[in-house]
């Protein structure tokens, strides 16, 4: 019995050490973004001797971060709205009206969770549809990419919305559109928030689609802009760190605010009862 408190302290210490070690790379970015060029040269863990907030304004100006921030926002928000709405509409109908065809379509759609993207032939599709080198193309591509997991996640959730609501709404004279957007969609909010957050983060972090399909650097999202910036300023880690920090800031904010939804969304597929 006497060893128990020590054991508990040991476990807690271990957990703290693990968390600290995992956090170090992010910590390094934060401290080095505030150092001078010479202090940041080795990307050390030491605290800055003086705080250089002007790094951020330098980076925003030199790295054209304003433009790429707007691009990233456009891609992430646009694809999240389109993808989540389409997935919700599809999952609602597939879950409610289980004909033989719809059951097959459900399996066909969620198969996409496992499929790798063939970028070679996807390039052709993008050319044929004239979406290559366009912002709309990136939005649609990200939206399409989130549909399989979205359908899967929402399909399970729809089963918990009582069917009587549909019947009541129909009696009150709702057509399918009003039934879905006015009655059902508000009830789906928990799962829609989870999916939206995951989609937003995924689209924000992605660099492969822009790498293949955008060769005009004015259309690049922040992730690719960072890479470009690193190419030009790789001797100056203080500026690179500041650029990185600005790029991951939206991700960190969204993650910390919505971590409850993210973590519940991740586990819903894998852990059932």
């Amino acid at each position: 019995m006497r060893t128990k408190p020590f054991k508990s302290i040991g476990f807690n210490l271990l957990a703290i050490v693990i968390s600290v070690v995992i956090f170090i790379p992010i910590y390094i970015i934060i401290v080095n973004s505030l150092k001078t060029k010479t202090d940041a040269a080795t990307m050390g863990i030491g605290l800055p001797t003086s705080l250089h907030f002007e790094n951020f304004s330098t980076v925003i100006e030199k790295g054209k971060l304003g433009q790429s921030f707007l691009n990233s926002m456009l891609y992430s928000v646009g694809s999240t709205i389109i993808g989540t709405t389409l997935a919700a509409m599809g999952a609602f109908v597939l879950s409610r009206n289980r004909t033989r065809l719809n059951r097959f379509l459900y399996l066909f759609l969620i198969m996409g969770i496992a499929l790798p993207t063939n970028y070679v032939t996807l390039t052709q599709v993008m050319q044929v549809t004239h979406l290559i080198n366009t912002q709309l193309g990136i939005i649609i591509l990200h939206a399409a990419g989130q549909i399989p997991f979205g359908i899967f996640l929402i399909y399970g959730f729809v089963q918990n919305i009582p069917r009587e609501l549909d019947e009541a709404a129909i009696v009150d004279g709702c057509g399918p559109w009003r039934l879905f957007f006015v009655v059902i969609m508000p009830l789906m909010m928990p799962v829609l928030i989870t999916l939206s957050v995951l989609s937003f983060l995924g689209a924000w972090s992605d660099f492969i689609a822009p790498l293949y399909f955008l060769n005009n650097s004015d259309l690049w999202p922040m992730t690719l802009a960072v890479y470009n910036f690193f190419g030009q300023f790789q001797s100056d880690w203080s500026l690179v760190s500041a650029d990185i920090l600005l790029t991951i800031l939206p991700v960190l904010v969204v993650y910390l605010l919505a971590q409850r939804f993210i973590l519940s969304g991740l586990t819903s597929g894998a852990v059932k009862g």
């Binding site: 508990s8 040991g10 476990f11 807690n12 957990a15 693990i18 790379p25 390094i28 990307m43 389409l86 599809g90 109908v93 597939l94 004909t99 379509l105 399996l107 759609l109 198969m111 969770i113 496992a114 499929l115 790798p116 993207t117 063939n118 970028y119 070679v120 032939t121 996807l122 599709v125 399409a144 549909i147 899967f152 009582p162 549909d166 019947e167 009541a168 129909i170 009696v171 009150d172 399918p176 039934l179 009655v183 009830l187 983060l201 972090s205 960072v226 690179v240 991951i248 991700v251 910390l256 971590q259 993210i262 973590l263 991740l266 586990t267 597929g269 894998a270 852990v271 059932k272 009862g273």
Partner: protein, 327 residues
């Protein structure tokens, strides 16, 4: 909840009024219950948007890739000839390192599955058994790397693993273990393992979060009963936690498997397949073949993985829909 109750009440109110005047019209409730009229309430065009996007941007590229892998399609001519299994013969002949890319992919997949599962399980148990304070903070931090953009992870770890100035080697020299300092991403014998290490840092939180939820779903009664019967923590782990967690571990393994087979971005940002071809995996080589305009071989490589993934994907779906099937 409030909202739904209000709607149910309107339904009760509306029914008596609706009935007298609507003799000629079929009862709407009966209508959505009858199978052939359901299409009106749940129209097919609601599915069409998702279906079209998915088909055009995932299925069609996948299937045309399948076809092109039997051709000599390249960027130099517009003629495309059917070459049968030649591209696959090129891949398996061993002349051009392709087999080493497949081998690297499999090594990466196997080691990341083992590392993420073992470490993820250890963290999850530490957080449920040993740690009572700050559990959620730990969970948030351990998962945090998963949301960071891969390009950023690449840049930061290239600096951390730098042989001269990198933090890891500085630390090893600092504690007197300078002999263990390595050229992490530059030495051909080590680079792949360094990538696996970074990937574990990024991905272990995801696996831990799932396993943690799985452990928390195990009823406490089992552990209490086990404790009364005199089972020590080790026995409780092997005889209660592990058997009940097996379905969840299966899911995380399949997720890791699918992720590992199609890995591209972490290799691309850390070494881009170098030094030489030492860390090239299937999808980085596809990217390079694509860059050289050898589309036929590139799609054949994709197809090879596509087939492996369809088979594993089938099992994923079986796992994820197992509850629906049981209905």
């Amino acid at each position: 909840m409030q909202r739904s109750r209000a709607i149910v009440e309107t339904k009760a109110d509306a029914k008596p009024e609706a009935q007298p005047g609507t003799k000629s019209r079929p009862d709407p409730v009966a209508r959505i219950k009858s199978k052939n009229k359901r299409g009106h309430t749940y129209p097919f065009y609601f599915v069409a948007g998702a279906l079209i996007l998915y088909t055009v941007f995932s299925v069609i590229p996948g299937l045309t890739g399948l076809l092109y892998s039997f051709t000599d399609w390249n960027s130099y001519t517009t003629d495309v000839h059917w070459v049968g299994l030649d591209n696959f013969a090129t891949i398996f002949s061993g002349d051009e390192n392709y087999l080493s890319f497949v081998k690297n992919t499999l090594v990466f997949t196997a080691l990341t599955i083992i590392l993420k599962t073992v470490l993820g399980l250890a963290f999850a148990i530490l957080l449920t058994e040993g740690v009572k304070k700050l559990t959620n903070l730990h969970r948030v931090i351990v998962y945090l790397p998963a949301v960071l953009p891969m390009l950023v992870v690449g840049l930061v770890f290239k600096s951390i693993l730098n042989p001269q100035t990198g933090l890891v080697n500085e630390f090893l020299r600092g504690i007197g273990l300078g002999g263990l300092a390595q050229k992490w991403l530059v030495d051909a014998n080590i680079a792949l393992y360094s990538i696996i290490g970074v990937d574990t840092w990024k991905g272990v939180g995801y696996i831990m979060v799932i396993l943690l939820a799985g452990i928390q779903a195990i009823p406490k009664d089992y552990y209490e009963a086990g404790a009364i019967d005199g089972a020590n923590p080790w026995q409780r782990f092997w005889h209660i936690t592990m058997p009940l967690l097996t379905p969840v571990i299966t899911v995380t393994t399949v997720l890791n498997l699918l992720y590992g087979l199609k890995v591209f971005d972490i290799v691309y940002v850390l070494t881009n397949g170098g030094p030489g071809y030492a860390t090239d995996v299937v999808f980085t080589s596809v990217f390079k073949e694509f860059g050289q305009g050898r589309y036929g071989v590139a799609t054949a490589l994709s197809t090879l993985l596509f087939l492996i993934m369809v088979v594993s994907g089938y099992f994923v779906i079986r796992l994820m829909t197992r509850k629906d099937q049981a209905e």
